[in-house]
Symmetry: C2
Subunit: 247 residues, 2 copies
């Protein structure tokens, strides 16, 4: 097989400097077909995509995601929808009552498969020369996304991605040391604090190198975000769509 | 870029006929490094991997996942762990109190990023000539996985993957029609039942073609699984690890 794929994965970066250059239907179809072949839990295929090209709709999504202007600029936005509506039709056809959507397990399976799908969309797009940026910020107001995309009950717009050609590729941000990520046989806690402290310094050096004066150490940035529920309405909207977290 | 990547994504299949041939440390390191470069929500990097090579441990995981014997055969098993323990250390360093893990939003972000990671592991492995099969079945008894891998609080073993060289590549199962997957601008419900019915027939023809006599139509198979919470203890174990789904 090809090391081009490994290089593509290792060079992952989020791009935001999108050009107006359109994405052809042929390229988009290849990206979507590649994602469509990804696996899903028990082959339930509980994922759907909504492709938005309409500039007015993209401007609205940019607003929903707290003013991420690149959503308005990139010619294509794809929303990855966890879709237990489609499987509920399967249950109807088989004369059964679907209950999975009301459980933590159902939500977990749907969210993991949304992640696999998002990953495949990003890799396929980059393999075809496009730039991408994943957008969790649609969960900031998932109800507005549901209205805009006309999503049925038992679905949830989990995450999205901008696709387009880019002006200049973004820099690649350093990651936490691999020793905090890979564990062998069992999880090792002993050196984590030390590794995180080293990474905080490395990330600050990176911010300085690219001239970003508001960059924080990883621990401070993560702590700021995680001392709150930063997309506050995820639970409320998921519950109103039928995801009950009952057990 | 390379169409080899598109071909790889479009040829996705789950392999189960693993050979005893070992996976070298060099190949494994490349696979893990590729996954490590994937994006995470707000760059929180709330994912860890636990690599299991030990045959006794793999046999135990096969048992936990309801007797999936291929886990015992493939030389490497990787568990993708949602890890809010690591981020809680960041909060500690920054003198803040982490609350994200107690929310649906935190669980959603962690599960999506586990999916991106799983996808990257699968693609990188296949790019290097390995076969893979994703394993959600570790959630069948997530508590036993936590014990085996010595996972700390605020973590959850979301999904796993077998890696190894394979004897003969598996067949590729047909997917639901693309018209049930891709929607443009808004979600279209009108033709879903019709498309599902057509797919049920296509899948039955596939089962017959590969000589599998216990194969069910997609709708019946999905309905059977989803009329219950098929991994029953996901919620209970997640809650005991600190994922409260409070809001």
């Amino acid at each position: 097989m090809s090391n081009a794929t490994i290089e593509l994965l290792e060079s992952h970066r989020s791009d935001r400097s999108f050009l107006a250059t359109p994405v052809s239907e042929d390229v988009l179809a290849q990206v979507i077909e590649a994602a469509h072949r990804g696996p899903t839990s028990i082959n339930a295929q509980h994922i759907s995509l909504v492709v938005v090209r309409d500039p007015g709709h993209r401007a609205r999504i940019a607003e929903i995601a707290s003013g991420q202007t690149w959503i308005g600029k990139a010619p294509v936005f794809i929303t990855v929808v966890v879709d237990f509506y489609k499987t509920s039709l399967a249950a109807e056809l088989a004369g059964k009552k679907q209950i999975i959507h009301a459980s933590v397990e159902g939500f977990a399976a749907g969210a993991v498969d949304a992640g696999i799908t998002l990953g495949n969309l990003m890799i396929a797009a980059r393999a075809l020369g496009l730039g991408i940026v994943p957008i969790g910020g649609i969960r900031q107001d998932a109800q507005a996304m549901i209205k805009l995309l006309d999503l049925p009950p038992l679905t949830f717009p989990m995450v999205g991605v901008c696709l387009g050609y880019v002006d200049k590729p973004a820099q690649q941000k350093p990651r936490l040391p691999i020793a905090t990520y890979r564990h062998d046989e069992t999880y090792k806690k002993a050196h984590l604090l030390e590794e995180i402290t080293a990474y905080d310094k490395e990330l600050m050096a990176y911010w300085r190198a690219i001239g970003r004066t508001d960059g924080l150490p990883w621990s401070a940035n993560t702590a700021n975000a995680y001392q709150q529920v930063y997309f506050r309405k995820t639970a409320e909207v998921a519950r109103s769509q039928g995801f009950a977290f009952e057990q």
